[in-house]
Every structure is written in structure tokens, then in C-alpha cells.
């Protein structure tokens, strides 16, 4: 399969290796399409944790729904269930035992969906849309962390209507990630805060943003002994920063790299710059995947500081991505992310979720 960046424009055909001359480029990578995808843009994807046998995929969308599919080993996807909010769903996550799914929505609430009974109850309330939701499982407590545009981070025991704890953010929460005992939250106006979650959540450090523009997505990575040690931060300006929390040599260990640009590293010609919509780390290899508004996904090895692969260009931006618990499946959603405003929004356009075998492609490059 030819890999590296064809310079075809958005929506025109890529290298026609499949013989088709139609302009349909919705799946140039010929990955598995998930059946019954949502009717509006997909905002978030999450795979079930290892405690659940098999693979179940959850997707939240701007059609106010959250859908669940079972993904079988032969690649077949079976729609299982669906729940609704009264506003678009912005984020979703699983509990550690795989029995509950948490969803965060523009209707300022978060819900807990019990998959066994297929009932969903509200567990959180904010003053503004809830942008992020994560399940925290600490040795001495468990809770749900919600980040909202009301500039607060709230922690909820699912049985109580009042939060266990509320932390103020300097600005609206734009993205967050949790890998116990660390949580990273990126806010508007280039805010960046790291929390430590042992005993109880508390602010660990405010970090000056390594990026010049709006923060868009963040993902925590772990070191070789499986301890969270840093995070990758993506911005709207086609750039990802890799930041270690306590590096031996910050000047050398922290770095940024450009991605999701039209001209690669050729800096002389003006390039088109696209937002990085999602970052996900492979749970086994530690390599990372980024998806962008340009309709491509890329795999990177942050230790070798190289790119492993870039996909062909899809005809829509890729709005979300995630890996399953053992890293065999990479899921990415092809749907409009509003990066070009309302003029380019076509409610009739079909949205897709693709599944790709990720076992081989994300193996780290051996450092010479």
C-alpha cells in the first residue's frame, strides 16, 4: 500500500490504486466501516477496557446520541444499544470494570449508562457544556472527573448529586486526559494544568504552554514501567508538543513537531495548516497516532522522533480516534469538525467510523 502523502486536494481521488475512477474517497485506506454510524459528526470514540471480554466501541455524536457496537474479531460490527442526551455529546469514557459508560454533553450534564440494564442516569451538572469526562480509579477512591466550559473541573461520586470536589480552572476546559495518578487538562487561552490524583485530586503544576495557539487535544503517555510521565498536546496549528513532567533535561527532552500540514517539512512554500483533532497512544508500543482536520491520520514514534506512517487523505476531516485495550484495533471517525465554519457543513454527508488493524504499523522504529 502506498502511504506517503498524495497531494490531492480535499475530496478528490487519491492514488487510484483500486481502479475506481469515481471521486468517492471516503475510505481511501480501505479500512473496515462500522455499521450504522451516527447521523451527525462523531465527537468521541472509546473502546471497552480489558476487563470486558471482546471489544465494544462507544461513539458520541452531534446528533445527541451515544451508540455502542460490538466489534468481533473478524471485523464485523454489531450495533448493540444507544442512549440519548438533550444536546450534542462531546466526550465519553468507560468505567474500569466495563459495566458503565459515562457521557458528557452540551446539555450541561453527564450521564452514567449502565450497559447491562441499558439505563442511563444523570450523575453530573455544570453551568455550561461538559467537554471532557474521565473515570478515575484510585486505590482509595473512584470517581468521575468532568471538565466544562464553565471553567471548573468537578469530581463526582456517581451516587450523589453534589460533586465531591470542584477545582477552578483558569479558563474553559478544552481537553483532558487521565492516567492514574496523573491528569492533564488543557484550557482556553493556552492554559495547561497537571493534577495529581493520589489520595485526592489536587493541582500539581501549571505549565506554560509549549504551543503558540489554541489547545485542541491532549493525551498522557507512560514510561517503560507503565507510569504516566508526560503528555502530548495538539493545537489547531498542526503541531504537537511532547512534554515530560520531570525530564532529566527539559531543553532536550521536550519538543514539538509539525503535523497535518499540506507541504510536509518544506517551509518555503506557504502551507495549509490543519488542526490536530485527536491524539491517542498505543497501549503496548507507546507510539502515538494523531488525526487531523486534513482528513489524515499519522503514526509517530516519539522516542525515535520519527513518523511511522501517514494515511491517504479522506474526503472529510477525522474528528476522533482511539485504540482498543490491546492495541490491535485503531478506530478513527471521519466527519466534519467545523474547522471551516458552517459553510462547509453538509448535514446530508455521511459520517463514518473506520477500524484498522494496528498491531503491525505502530511498532516503534528501532533507534539506531
Amino acid at each position: 500500500m502506498s502511504l506517503f502523502g498524495s497531494t490531492s486536494g480535499f475530496g478528490t481521488g487519491g492514488t487510484s490504486m483500486f481502479g475506481s475512477t469515481t471521486a468517492d474517497n471516503h475510505n481511501p485506506m480501505k479500512d473496515i466501516e462500522v455499521t450504522s454510524p451516527p447521523d451527525d459528526s462523531i465527537s468521541c470514540l472509546a473502546f471497552s477496557p480489558p476487563t470486558l471480554p471482546g471489544n465494544f466501541l462507544i461513539a458520541g455524536s452531534w446528533a445527541n446520541d451515544v451508540r455502542c457496537w460490538e466489534v468481533q474479531d473478524n471485523g464485523q460490527t454489531i450495533p448493540k444499544a444507544q442512549q440519548m442526551h438533550t444536546g450534542p455529546v462531546l466526550d465519553t469514557c468507560w468505567s474500569d470494570d466495563g459495566s458503565k459508560v459515562f457521557t458528557a454533553s452540551c446539555d450541561k450534564t453527564a450521564k452514567m449508562w449502565d450497559l447491562n440494564s441499558n439505563q442511563a442516569i444523570q450523575i453530573a451538572q455544570h453551568e455550561a457544556p461538559v467537554k471532557t469526562i474521565h473515570w478515575i480509579k484510585a486505590p482509595n477512591y473512584s470517581c468521575v472527573m468532568t471538565g466544562s466550559w464553565d471553567k471548573t473541573l468537578k469530581f463526582w461520586d456517581t451516587r450523589s448529586p453534589t460533586p465531591m470536589m470542584t477545582l477552578q480552572l483558569p479558563e474553559r476546559c478544552y481537553c483532558a486526559d487521565v492516567v492514574h495518578p496523573m491528569a492533564a487538562v488543557a484550557t482556553a487561552e493556552r492554559g495547561l494544568i497537571v493534577y495529581q490524583l493520589e489520595n485526592q485530586p489536587s493541582e500539581f503544576r501549571r505549565i506554560e504552554s509549549p504551543l503558540k495557539h489554541q489547545h485542541r487535544c491532549v493525551a498522557i503517555f507512560k514510561d517503560k514501567v507503565n507510569k504516566p510521565t508526560g503528555f502530548a498536546l495538539g493545537s489547531i496549528e498542526g503541531r504537537v508538543a511532547i512534554h515530560y513532567i520531570n525530564p532529566p533535561n527539559p531543553a532536550k527532552d521536550n519538543f514539538t513537531f509539525k503535523c497535518h500540514r499540506s507541504n510536509g517539512t518544506n517551509t518555503s512554500a506557504p502551507q495549509d495548516i490543519y488542526a490536530v483533532n485527536g491524539i491517542a497512544f498505543h497501549p503496548v508500543h507507546g507510539t502515538l497516532a494523531t488525526v487531523g482536520s486534513d482528513g489524515r491520520f499519522s503514526f509517530w514514534d516519539k522516542d525515535a522522533r520519527t513518523k511511522l506512517k501517514t494515511s491517504e487523505q479522506l474526503d472529510q476531516p477525522i474528528s476522533a480516534c482511539c485504540f482498543n485495550h490491546n492495541g490491535n484495533i485503531f478506530a478513527y471517525a471521519s466527519s466534519y469538525d467545523w474547522s471551516k465554519g458552517h459553510e462547509f457543513y453538509n448535514p446530508q454527508k455521511k459520517n463514518y467510523i473506520f477500524l484498522r488493524n494496528a498491531a503491525e504499523e505502530l511498532k516503534p522504529r528501532n533507534k539506531k
Partner: protein
């Protein structure tokens, strides 16, 4: 003959008799040089002097400052990244050169300017790329790590806009959304053009923003962090619209900054945003008023007196006008600040004005003093007849009453040594 390294550190024992160069504008005011007699004339001390020649004078120059910064910036632009390291070495150089900067040393002035120029250059370049690349325009921006956000670029995420569209669509009012977005885009474009043209006032405003301490983001965030009212400080226009917390409504008012002047909550520190008309850096400084370092307070007061940027639509500069025209004392402490500024900006430091700093409710309500204080008095004493009754009373009293301390010097008649 090299530059005397001991002189640079303020501890040259030979003073004027030193065989090495003591650059003009260097550390004059520092420890008096010891008697040169005993030390001189012998072999041992000569060799001491010679020893210092080994250190090159170039470490003193701008390259020390600029070099590391430059590295940080350059590397940032490509795929590498060296900011943290350069940040720390930058500050080390800064402490060494502190005094010479104040005394306007030629070398230092030159180095400083280079950094400014570099900053401006990087801002220009970034703006050009931003304009041509098709990237998301409603984004905050800062030219470099460590620098605060450049004002005039509020953050709006695509999701926020999209939600706004969906809400408008549900109300059959998509045109409202379209107008709001167009308005925002116009403002972005306007700010972009303004920065790109970089005329004198834009340049000055930008540079003072960017130079306003490396730690600026911290206080601003910290403050927002502790305010349980969730009153956002940075990103000014954003705070105005996000305070209508329930719905992210576009207020397509052209004066986004003025829009938030309606949010004057209770006094003291939280009212800071109401008059931070310039930029968020100055807001955070005013917040840390009692505890902030003197330089930041100074910049704060200077900004007040010099609000020529035309943003003064909030009640604040209205106050300064009131203070000067001897109308009844403005009902907030910041009127006091203005009066003080009018009196003698150079005295304005938390230490010097010890009684005023820290007590946020302090009013120099001696309105008459405000009124008559339009010119800085150069006299040592004030004739009794020029004092108001209140001021006279204050001078005659055993102690000053907080809130009524006269700004004019006392009459000589009342002084008894």
C-alpha cells in the same frame, strides 16, 4: 585591557584605580571600593587582575541574553525545542545585568532591543503564516513560550461555535450566528492588520504586554483559580461572553472590551478586570497589588495615566478625569491610585506608599487634594493658605488618618523639629 569582572559584580576593590575597564553606566552605586593602597603595587594583586582578563567581555553583551532566547525560538520553529533551558539561563543573565539596565548601559540597551526586535519579527512571521495557512482563526496566540498571549485574539473552539450554530438553528435564527461569526472574523482581521502594520503605538503596547514578566501567566491563572466566582481574567473579551455561563452567546458588540465593564462585582481584587482595559498582564499586576513587586505596580500605574490606546470606555478612565477635575472623590480605591499617579508616579511603590498599599479600600478621599493636585508640587513646604481645611487638620493632628493623608507637603510653620 579587558572588562573588569569584579566591577560587573559590583565588588571591584580597586575602583577607579583598577587596571581593567569599568564600563560606563555600570555598577557605580555598589559597595565602595576598598582602599586600594595595601592591595596595590605587588606582584600578587597584579596577577589577580590579569586573571580576570581571561573571561571574555562578550559574556556581558546582548548575545548572552539574546543567544539563548534565540536558540529557544529557532528550535521551537522547527522540530526541536529548547525553551526550558533557554528560559532559565535567560533569567540568570538578567539578574547579573539588573543594575546596568536601570542605569541605561549602552551595551544592555542594545541587547534588550535585539530581543524586542526578534520578538516582533517572530510575531510578524507567525501572523503571516496564520493568515495564509487557512488554520483556525479564533485562537489565542503567543509568539514564544514564556510569553503571555497577545491581546486581541480570544480563544473560541470549533465546538463552541458549532454549538452556537445548532442553538441558532433550533431557534430558526441562523442569521444571528452568521452575523456573530462574521463580526468575530472582522475583529480578528482588524487585529491582525493592526499588528502587521506595527505602527508605533501597536508596537509599544505589544512590547509592554510581552515583556510583562515571564511569570505573568501564573498570577493570572492563579487568580482565576482561586476566585470561586469563576471570573476569568485572561482573554478579556471571552470573559465577557462566558460570564453568561449558561449559554455561550455571541455579543457582536464591536467593543468587546467595553462589554465586560458591566461586570464590576464587589470591590477589592475581583474588580481588577473591570479596569484592566489594557491587557491581562496589567490586570494580574493590579491584583497582586499589595504583594506585587514594585516594578509591576509601577507599570500598573503608568498604564493608567497613559491610557492613550483609546480603550478607556470603562468607567475607569472616567474616574481619572473626575479626580483631576476635583469632583467628589471617586468611590473606589482606584480613584486613589489615579490621584497618586497624578501626584508623583515615581513615589508609587508599595514600600514607599506603605500606608496605601494593601488596604484595598483606601480612598484618598481628600477630593480637594485631588482637585488641587493637578501639578506635581515641587515645593518643600506648602504655605498654610494653600492647604484645605482637611489637610490642615491632618497635619495638625498627632497622626494621619488613613484615607485622608494629604499629598502636599506640610507647611513649614507646623514643623517642629
Amino acid at each position: 585591557m579587558g572588562v573588569c569582572q569584579f566591577f560587573l559584580q559590583g565588588r571591584c576593590r580597586f575602583g577607579e584605580k583598577c587596571w581593567n575597564e569599568h564600563p560606563r553606566g555600570g555598577r557605580h552605586g555598589l559597595p565602595a571600593p576598598q582602599g586600594p593602597g595595601p592591595g596595590r603595587g605587588g606582584g600578587p594583586c597584579t596577577s589577580n587582575q590579569r586573571h580576570t582578563n581571561v573571561i571574555q567581555p562578550s559574556t556581558f553583551k546582548s548575545s548572552a541574553w539574546g543567544g539563548s532566547r534565540d536558540n529557544g525560538r529557532e528550535v521551537f520553529g522547527s522540530s526541536g525545542f529548547g525553551s526550558s533551558g533557554s528560559g532559565s539561563s535567560g533569567s540568570a543573565d538578567f539578574s547579573q545585568n539588573r543594575f546596568s539596565a536601570l542605569m541605561n548601559n549602552q551595551n544592555i540597551a542594545g541587547g534588550y532591543k535585539d530581543e524586542e526586535e526578534r520578538l516582533l519579527e517572530s510575531v510578524m512571521k507567525d501572523l503571516e503564516i496564520w493568515e495564509s495557512s487557512g488554520q483556525w482563526i479564533f485562537s489565542s496566540y503567543s509568539p514564544m513560550k514564556d510569553k503571555p498571549n497577545v491581546s486581541g485574539f480570544p480563544d473560541f473552539s470549533p465546538e463552541e461555535l458549532r454549538l452556537e450554530y445548532y442553538n441558532c438553528r433550533a431557534n430558526n435564527d441562523v442569521q444571528n450566528y452568521i452575523n456573530s461569526v462574521q463580526e468575530l472574523a472582522k475583529q480578528w482581521k482588524k487585529r491582525l492588520v493592526e499588528l502587521k502594520s506595527m505602527n508605533a503605538s501597536t508596537k509599544a503596547a505589544l512590547l509592554s504586554e510581552l515583556k510583562n514578566t515571564v511569570t505573568q501567566p501564573l498570577p493570572a491563572f492563579g487568580f482565576g483559580g482561586q476566585q470561586s466566582s469563576g471570573f476569568g481574567l485572561s482573554g478579556f473579551p471571552v470573559s465577557s461572553s462566558s460570564n453568561t455561563a449558561s449559554s455561550f452567546s455571541f455579543k457582536p458588540s464591536s467593543n468587546l472590551i467595553g462589554a465586560s465593564s458591566g461586570n464590576t462585582p464587589a470591590f477589592g481584587s475581583s474588580s481588577a478586570p473591570a479596569f484592566g482595559v489594557t491587557t491581562s498582564p496589567s490586570i494580574s499586576h493590579s491584583v497582586g497589588f499589595g504583594s506585587a513587586a514594585a516594578p509591576s505596580a509601577a507599570s500598573f500605574s503608568f498604564k493608567l495615566s497613559g491610557t492613550t490606546s483609546g480603550f478607556g470606555s470603562s468607567g475607569f478612565s472616567g474616574n481619572s478625569a473626575a479626580a483631576k477635575s476635583s469632583s467628589p472623590a471617586p468611590p473606589n480605591a482606584f480613584g486613589a491610585v489615579n490621584a497618586a499617579v497624578a501626584a508623583s508616579p515615581s513615589r508609587w511603590s508599595p514600600a514607599g506608599f506603605g500606608q496605601t498599599a494593601g488596604s484595598s479600600g483606601h480612598n484618598i478621599t481628600s477630593a480637594s487634594s485631588a482637585g488641587t493636585n493637578s501639578t506635581t508640587s515641587e515645593k518643600l513646604y506648602t504655605p498654610k493658605r494653600e492647604l484645605s481645611a482637611e489637610e490642615l487638620k491632618q497635619f495638625e493632628a498627632k497622626r494621619f488618618t488613613l484615607g485622608m493623608i494629604p499629598l502636599k507637603p506640610p507647611p513649614s510653620e507646623l514643623l517642629n523639629v
